[in-house]
């Protein structure tokens, strides 16, 4: 596997293994993730791509019976080390889920939730963060007149963008997106893809997607997972034009998966 030479890695995953009970779900993963790039993870269902992205902010820890070995270095620190503060990690590594999951509160309170739990109390600071986050996801114009309206009243696409804004409000460095558009219509999907291209100026983005066109459209690097193994990781243009591994080629040309 040709690995780019980088010194500015957001994550550096080394010899990482994960088991659900006896099931060896991720096998010997070596995966550097470069800062301020979009890294897409593709692969058939059950290949471990969702599991992998959930280990980067240790959301995987809430599943009972998970065992892990190896290293996941974030800013030079191994996050698997129990001494590392999980709250700090998740503040810096935001996550967006398959389906928008706004809290049953107002739009404002949803976005202010992160800053509030991390100690921001002043109304003016919170307002500033809320406005900025909403602008970053291009939702500001749509909701500026109803910040106190319930977030559950928004459309599905708006809810997902709200959740992205909510994740951005804690000022993370990395944004993890686990199939963020799989439940959305094409227009909402397009909006989120455009947003990703803007956000990568400021954030490192890792996106798991079922949609290969989406990976090709938004990402700089693409990783192909198959049955718990990282088969290939390379420039997106290379993966989709001349992949090194025939299994990658088989998947992207639709021969399986």
């Amino acid at each position: 596997m040709s690995v780019f030479t980088i010194t500015d890695k957001a994550f550096d995953v080394k010899d990482f293994n994960l088991w659900y009970g006896d099931h060896h779900a991720l096998k010997n993963i070596n995966f550097p993730i470069r800062k301020k790039e979009v890294t897409a993870i593709i692969g058939p269902s059950g290949c471990g791509k969702s599991t992998f992205i959930k280990t980067l902010n240790l959301m995987i820890n809430s599943i009972p019976g998970v065992k892990m070995s190896g290293e996941i270095n974030y800013n030079g620190q191994n996050i698997l080390n129990e001494k590392l503060d999980l709250v700090d990690l998740r503040k810096n590594v935001g996550m967006v889920f398959q389906k928008g999951n706004p809290f049953p509160q107002s739009i404002f309170d949803n976005i202010a939730y992160g800053p509030r739990i991390h100690g921001k109390k002043r109304k003016r600071d919170l307002e500033e963060i809320v406005i900025k986050s909403l602008m970053d996801v291009a939702l500001w114009d749509e909701v500026k007149d109803r910040l106190n309206a319930p977030a559950l009243g928004l459309s599905g696409g708006q809810q997902q963008r709200l959740c992205i804004a909510r994740a951005l409000a804690t000022k993370p460095n990395v944004l993890l997106m686990d199939e963020p558009t799989s439940a959305l219509d094409p227009i909402s999907t397009l909006k989120i893809e455009e947003m990703i291209l803007e956000l990568k100026e400021k954030y490192t983005i890792v996106i798991v997607t079922h949609n290969m066109q989406q990976a090709a459209r938004v990402s700089d690097k693409t990783a192909f997972f198959l049955m718990g193994e990282l088969i290939e990781l390379d420039e997106t243009s290379k993966i989709f034009s001349q992949p090194s591994d025939e299994r990658t080629e088989g998947y992207i040309t639709g021969r399986f998966g």
């Binding site: 902010n57 959301m59 809430s62 935001g94 809290f103 049953p104 509160q105 939730y113 991390h118």
Partner: protein, 306 residues
């Protein structure tokens, strides 16, 4: 354009419907519904009619009944029918019991769903079911034998008091509140918890700022249902509260509630007399307040967020 006949009517008209018992089944469930509705309506009419008799036929003043602190029906010359001490007593024990049972019940629900979902539920669930299964007379008996002397010796007063009533009732309504609160917490989508944890929230922050607010209307419903049960409980309260007709001035004073006064006096009054009719009036008040509880629950469930 042709008129669209609803599918259920067309199914009923089908030649096969008699064979498959379609109509018979329909009659059966219809009857069940009608019997229930008829029972509720007739009870309401009966209590309404009996409850108003004291005011209409016996000339008891409704204002006096609702506002006078003096209950003296046996006074030969000038009987006074002031039910306020009992109305107050009923509300006092109900609210006090809810004050104790609500935090405990919701706390237990959170423990079972959020903190220790695996073993917490396994241990607490049977405990709660057991609490439901204990008959109210047993609660009263335990209260009378253990609680009343304890309060008399260690807290003060006679022991028969609002405090005793509150403690017995809070234990009795605890299972109601806990069960409904547990269901409310358990139905919160997992995605909300994930969303909060992924933002770096701790477990307590997630519970306090996301889960409890999300479940709030259902949690309030749990409390109101508990209160409705406390309000209607007669036997256990009667055994520990002292059943005096005086207005209580402290939590250690003996008191009476609408239910306890009805059960105590219904055997000692003749049917149709004023003394009997005012008991029906108290029953009517109980009924009206139950309706209010139901209205509150309906209002809360309409406001459910998830």
């Amino acid at each position: 354009m042709e008129k669209v006949v609803p599918a259920k009517d067309r199914l009923l008209k089908s030649k096969k419907s008699w064979m498959d018992g379609e109509v018979r089944g329909r009659i059966l469930v219809f009857l069940s519904a009608i019997i229930m509705i008829a029972a509720t309506i007739s009870i309401t009419i009966f209590i309404g009619q009996k409850g108003l008799q004291a005011f209409i036929n016996n000339g008891v003043s409704l204002i006096e009944f609702l506002t006078s602190k003096i209950w003296d029906p046996t006074n030969q010359k000038n009987p006074v029918y002031g039910a306020l001490p009992f109305i107050f007593g009923s509300f006092a024990v109900t609210f006090l019991a809810a004050l104790v049972a609500a935090p405990l019940g919701i706390g237990a629900a959170i423990f079972m769903t959020e903190i220790a979902p695996s073993w917490g539920r396994k241990v607490l669930q049977p405990v709660i079911e057991l609490l439901v299964g204990i008959p109210s007379v047993v609660y009263g008996f335990i209260g009378l034998t253990v609680l009343v002397p304890f309060i008399r010796d260690h807290v003060g007063g006679l022991g028969f008091s609002l405090l005793s009533g509150m403690i017995v009732l809070s234990v009795m309504i605890l299972p109601t509140i806990t069960t409904i609160a547990t269901d409310a917490m358990a139905t919160i989508p997992k995605a909300l918890r994930e969303g909060s944890y992924a933002l770096g929230a701790t477990r307590w922050q997630t519970i306090r700022k996301v889960l409890i607010p999300a479940a709030m209307p259902s949690l309030l419903t749990a409390i109101v249902l508990g209160m409705a049960r406390a309000f209607g409980e007669a036997l256990a309260v009667q055994m520990v509260i002292g059943n005096v007709s005086k207005f209580p001035h402290s939590i250690l004073d003996a008191s009476g509630t609408l239910t306890t006064i009805i059960t105590l006096n219904m055997g000692n009054t003749t049917f149709g007399s004023v003394d009997n009719n005012v008991l029906w009036s108290m029953g009517l008040i109980l009924l009206v307040i139950s309706f209010v509880f139901i209205l509150i629950i309906r209002y809360l469930s309409a406001r459910r967020k998830i």
